[in-house]
């Protein structure tokens, strides 16, 4: 499973979501799931995310909104613009943090990190992505 937490919708985040959505589609047999949580209280975000999903044809990755604090137990820093966690069987394997936006190199690192969860996801049956 790929969990992405962001403070705002940036060009880098959009590119990251596209890359992860493609990876989720390409690895659907491994039940690789993914979601994005934009942590904001901006009322316009819902419409913006709907438009983003429509424009970029995001089908596999679920786009969500949470409060600016985010889920407390996920220990997200207020100074992190984008935090990505890769986990399988509810256990985190990789963590990527970017203070502002994420660039192409950062996206490559996240995509490369998927290898750390895909083999286990493939072995795991119905809940392989969890």
């Amino acid at each position: 499973m790929v969990a992405i937490f962001a403070r705002e919708i940036t060009p880098g985040l959009t590119s990251l979501v596209k890359a992860i959505d493609k990876a989720s589609k390409d690895n659907s047999d491994a039940k690789l799931g993914s979601f994005v949580v934009v942590m904001t209280d901006d009322d316009k975000t819902e419409k913006t995310l709907e438009a983003l999903a429509d424009k970029e044809k995001i089908k596999q990755t679920v786009l969500c909104i949470d409060s600016p604090k985010g889920p407390e137990k996920w220990k997200l820093s207020k100074d992190a613009g984008i935090t990505v966690m890769l986990y399988v069987k509810n256990t985190v394997k990789e963590n990527f943090v970017h203070t502002k936006d994420i660039d192409a190199k950062g996206i490559e690192a996240v995509v490369a990190g998927l290898k750390s969860i895909l083999p286990e996801a493939k072995k795991d049956g119905k809940d392989g992505d969890k």
């Binding site: 969990a3 819902e46 909104i65 220990k75 820093s77 986990y87 509810n90 985190v92 394997k93």
Partner: protein, 53 residues
Amino acid sequence: MIRILLSVVAAGLLAAAAQSDEIKSGLQAGDKVSPFNPLNVTGSSAGEKRCQV
């Protein structure tokens, strides 16, 4: 001369600090994820507050 040297050292220290601005955010390798219920904007539960974990 000493002032110049101190300035150079201070600038070096500041540059080093700027490069090591890595922050810790989110759960780390080995940590267990916890359920939460964000508003789903897309997906099968669009419009609902539903856990994706």
